[in-house]
Symmetry: C2
Subunit: 321 residues, 2 copies
Amino acid sequence: MANQNAPIPNCIDIENAFGLIEKHINRTPVLTSRSVNAMLGCSVYLKCENFQRVGAFKFRGATHAILRLNPNEAKCGVITHSSGNHAAAMALAASQRGIPAYIVMPENAPEIKKKAVTGYGGIITFCPPTQADREQTMLRIKSQTGATFIHPYDNFNVICGQGTAALELMQQEPKLDVVIAPIGGGGLLSGTATYIKGRFPHVKVYGAEPKNADDAFRSLRDRTIYPSVKPQTIADGLLTSLSPLTYTILSQHCNGILTVSEQSIIDAMRMVWERMKIIIEPSSAVPVAAIMENAELFRNLRVGVIISGGNVDLNHLPWQG
Amino acid sequence: MANQNAPIPNCIDIENAFGLIEKHINRTPVLTSRSVNAMLGCSVYLKCENFQRVGAFKFRGATHAILRLNPNEAKCGVITHSSGNHAAAMALAASQRGIPAYIVMPENAPEIKKKAVTGYGGIITFCPPTQADREQTMLRIKSQTGATFIHPYDNFNVICGQGTAALELMQQEPKLDVVIAPIGGGGLLSGTATYIKGRFPHVKVYGAEPKNADDAFRSLRDRTIYPSVKPQTIADGLLTSLSPLTYTILSQHCNGILTVSEQSIIDAMRMVWERMKIIIEPSSAVPVAAIMENAELFRNLRVGVIISGGNVDLNHLPWQG
C-alpha cells in the first residue's frame, strides 16, 4: 500500500489538530469512582468519549480530516465505506462544514446505523454486503462526485484527531502512570500513543483487544500485519485489522497489547454501567476488562482509560442473553 | 404530627449544610446535550445526582442529618425503615462516621436493595411487609439501641442536605430560568425550592410527578395532604406522600406540580440514555418527561433538572416489556 511511505504524525501534529478542532468538539469529562477503584485495586480515570458528539471519539478524527481539506476538495465532499461510528462522525463533521458526506453501506446494515447516518445528514449508497462491492461502489461514487476518501484509521489527519482525546486527558489528569485504549484498526491507539510518548515518555501506553479478535496482538508480536478474519466478539467496534500506518506507529510507541475474554468484557461493561451510571459500548469495556484481568500489572497505579464510545442497542444488552 | 410546629429551613440553613457536607459528597457534574435540547426546544441542564455516592441525591440528606448528631446521639447510631435509596444512603453515611445504621426492611424487599444496604455496612432487620409491622419493628430496635430515627424527608436536616444539589447547580449554571425536580415525599423538591426561592427568587421551581401517583399535585391544589394509596407507576422512587414539613414548604415556595404519563416517563428515560449516555432511574426521567409534555411552558428557556439517581435493575428495563 502507498501508505508505507506516508508521513508519521508526532505529538506536535496532535497539538495542532487540537487547536483546529477544539471549538467543534465536546471537551469530554474524566470520571472516576471510589467503588470501581476499590474493585480494580488501582485508580482508574475514564476519559468519557461516550459523551463526545455522535457518541464516540470518531468525531475528533473525522472533524480534523474534514477541516484539513482545501476549499476545492471540500466542495466535492467526502466519502467512506464504514458503517459504524466513523460513518456517523463523517456525516456530522461534513454537515458542520456544509459539505456532502457520501457513505457506502452494505444493504444489510442494521437500521440503527442507517438512521444515525441519515440523522446527521449523510448520503447513503447501499451495496451488496461484500468487501469487493463496497470498494467498487465507493470508487464509482468517488469518481462521479470528486469526493475525498477518508479512511477510518489509515489516515494521518484522522489519527491526529483521535490523539486529541489523550491530550485532553493529560490536561485533566496530568499524573497518570499508564494509559489504555481499545484497539481495532488502531487509529485511536496510534493517536494516543503518539501524543503520550511524545510529551510524557515515562507514561506507559497499552492497547486492549478481545482474545477473539487478537490480530493486533499477533501482528505486533510477529512483526507482520495479520488480517482480521471474521472475528466473533461482542466488541463490534474492534473487528478491523491494523493498517500500514497504524502498524508502524504502534510498533514504535505501544508498550503492549492486552487481550481479554468475552466474559470479562461483559463483566466490565456491566460494572461501569452499574457503578458509574454511564453507558459505554462493549469496545469501551475492553480496556477496563484488561485491568480486571491484569490486576498485578496495574496495582495502585493511576490508570487513564479512553472510553471510545457509548453507542449500544438498548434493546439487546449482552447480559440479557 | 409533631412536625407541624417544626422549624422551616431557609436558604442559609442549606448553605450551612453545604459547608458541613461538602467534603463528604461528590460535586456532581451538570450535563447538557445539543441533540436533547433540539428535541425539547429549550436548553436543559441535568444536575447528575446519579453520579452521587450510592447513586442518588439521598446521600446528601443522610450525610447532613448524621453529621448533625451530637456525640452521645451518634454513638447509638441511626435507624430508618426505608428500603430504597435512603436506606443505602443512611448505611454509607453512618459508616463514614463510624456509627451503626439500623435498617428495617420488609422481608420481601428485592435482593438488589438488601445487597446495597449490607454492602455499605447497614444492619438489616427484616419484618413482615405491612406498614404497622415496619413501624413496630423500628420502635423495638430503636428502644433496644437508642438509635436516632431519621425520616427520609420529614426532617429539617435531611431537607437541608437535599437542597445542596440545587446550590451546586446554581454555582455551575447561574443563569437558569427554571428548576424542576421530581416529587415523591417532597424532600428533594423542598430543599430545592427553599434554596432557589431564597437566593434566586426570579427562578421558577416546579415539581414533576407521575399522573399515576399525583397525590402531591392534588394535595397542593386542595390544600390538604392526601395519602398516596398504592400508586402504579414505573417511577418507584415517587410512591410516598407529602409530610407536614414538605407540604408546608412546598405550599410556600413551589410554582406548581406537573404530572406526566407513564409512556412519557419511559420515552424520556430512553432519550436520556440514548442521547446523553447516562443511566438515570425512572424517577429522574419524570422532570424530563414534564418538559416533553409542556413544550410551550419551557420554550427557549434555560431549564435545570435535578436528576435524582441512577439505581436501575439492568436486567429489567422498562422498554423491554
